[in-house]
C-alpha cells in the first residue's frame, strides 16, 4: 500500500484515457515476480480503469489505490503487484 514497497514508479500525470492503462501495462511487463508498480495519475477515470485492468489480467493484483492532493491537483495513486 505504501510507496516504499513499490519497485518502480510510473508517472502518467497529465495523461488521459487510454494512456494510464496502456502505459501501466508496459511498465508492468518489466516488473519481476512479486514486485509492486506504483502508478501516479491525474486522470480520475484511471481509478476504475486500472482496477478493471488488474482484475482482468492474470498475474496482476491491485494492492491499493489512494487519492491525494499535490500542488492543488487531484492525484490518483495505484499499486499493482505482479504475482508471477
Amino acid at each position: 500500500m505504501s510507496t516504499e514497497t513499490a519497485a518502480e514508479t510510473l508517472d502518467v500525470k497529465g495523461q488521459n484515457c487510454p494512456m494510464p492503462v496502456v502505459k501501466t501495462r508496459g511498465a508492468f511487463d518489466d516488473l519481476a515476480a512479486g514486485e509492486v508498480l506504483e502508478v501516479i495519475a491525474t486522470d480520475s477515470g484511471s481509478v476504475s480503469d486500472i482496477a478493471g485492468w488488474a482484475e482482468s489480467t492474470d498475474n496482476a493484483e491491485l494492492v491499493g489505490q489512494e487519492e491525494a492532493t499535490e500542488d492543488g491537483e487531484d492525484v490518483y495513486k495505484h499499486y499493482v503487484r505482479k504475482t508471477e
Partner: protein, 195 residues
C-alpha cells in the same frame, strides 16, 4: 406398498445409481479438464476492428480501443479501409477534419456549417479542446498502438483506389492485405467491431 418391498432388493439399485453418477461425474470432470487445456492452448484472445471513417472524431475510438485491448493482453488487428485509411496516412492523419454538416452534436446549424471554412473552424475548436483536456493526438495514439503490438493494417484495394503509396503510411503499418485476410482474422477473433 413400499413398506412391503424387501429391504435387500432396495439397496442394490441405489448403489448402482450412486456408482453410475460417480462414473458420469468423473467422465464430465475429464471432459472439462480437456476443454480447459484446449482453451488455454488457443493462446491470447483476439480483437479485430474494421476502421472505415476518416474524420477526426471517428479516428479516436478504434485507436483507443485497440491500445486498451492490447494492454489487456489481446492480440489486436485494426483493418483500415476506405476513409479509415486517412488515419494511417502519415501526412493526412495530422490534418483530419470534423464534419459540421449532418452532425447534430456540432455547435453550428447545418446551414451555417455548410459555409466555406466552417469545418476548418470547428476542427480547430475541437483540436484546442483535445489539447486542453490533455487527450493524446492521433499521431501519439498510433505510436502507442504500434508499441503495444497492435497490427495496423491498410487495405490494399483502398490504397490503390485512392492513389496512395506504401511509403505514405506510418512505419510498421501492414500493407498488401485485403478483405479475405480481414475476414479470416474476424473468424478467429473473440471481438469484432466495425467503426
Amino acid at each position: 406398498m413400499s413398506a412391503d418391498t424387501p429391504a435387500s432388493s432396495d439397496a442394490d439399485p441405489e448403489t448402482e445409481t450412486v456408482a453410475d453418477l460417480q462414473a458420469r461425474l468423473e467422465a464430465l470432470e475429464t471432459e472439462v479438464t480437456d476443454l480447459r487445456t484446449e482453451v488455454d492452448d488457443d493462446g491470447p484472445q483476439k480483437m479485430v476492428i474494421i476502421a472505415t471513417k476518416g474524420t477526426l472524431d471517428m479516428a479516436y475510438p478504434p485507436l483507443i480501443l485497440a491500445s486498451t485491448a492490447a494492454a489487456f493482453g489481446y492480440d489486436v488487428t485494426v483493418f483500415h479501409t476506405f476513409w479509415g485509411l486517412e488515419i494511417l496516412h502519415e501526412e493526412n492523419s495530422k490534418n483530419l477534419q470534423l464534419s459540421s454538416v449532418g452532425n447534430p452534436n456540432m455547435p453550428v446549424p447545418n446551414l451555417i456549417g455548410a459555409l466555406p471554412g466552417m469545418d476548418r473552424m470547428t476542427t480547430r475548436m475541437m483540436r484546442n479542446k483535445i489539447a486542453e483536456n490533455e487527450v493524446a493526438s492521433i499521431e501519439e495514439l498510433i505510436e502507442t498502438a504500434i508499441a503495444s503490438g497492435v497490427d495496423l493494417q491498410a487495405c490494399q484495394m483502398t490504397i490503390d483506389l485512392l492513389g496512395y503509396d506504401e511509403d505514405d503510411f506510418y512505419d510498421d503499418v501492414t500493407t498488401g492485405v485485403g478483405a479475405a485476410s480481414a475476414f479470416q482474422d474476424m473468424v478467429d477473433a473473440d471481438i469484432q467491431l466495425l467503426v
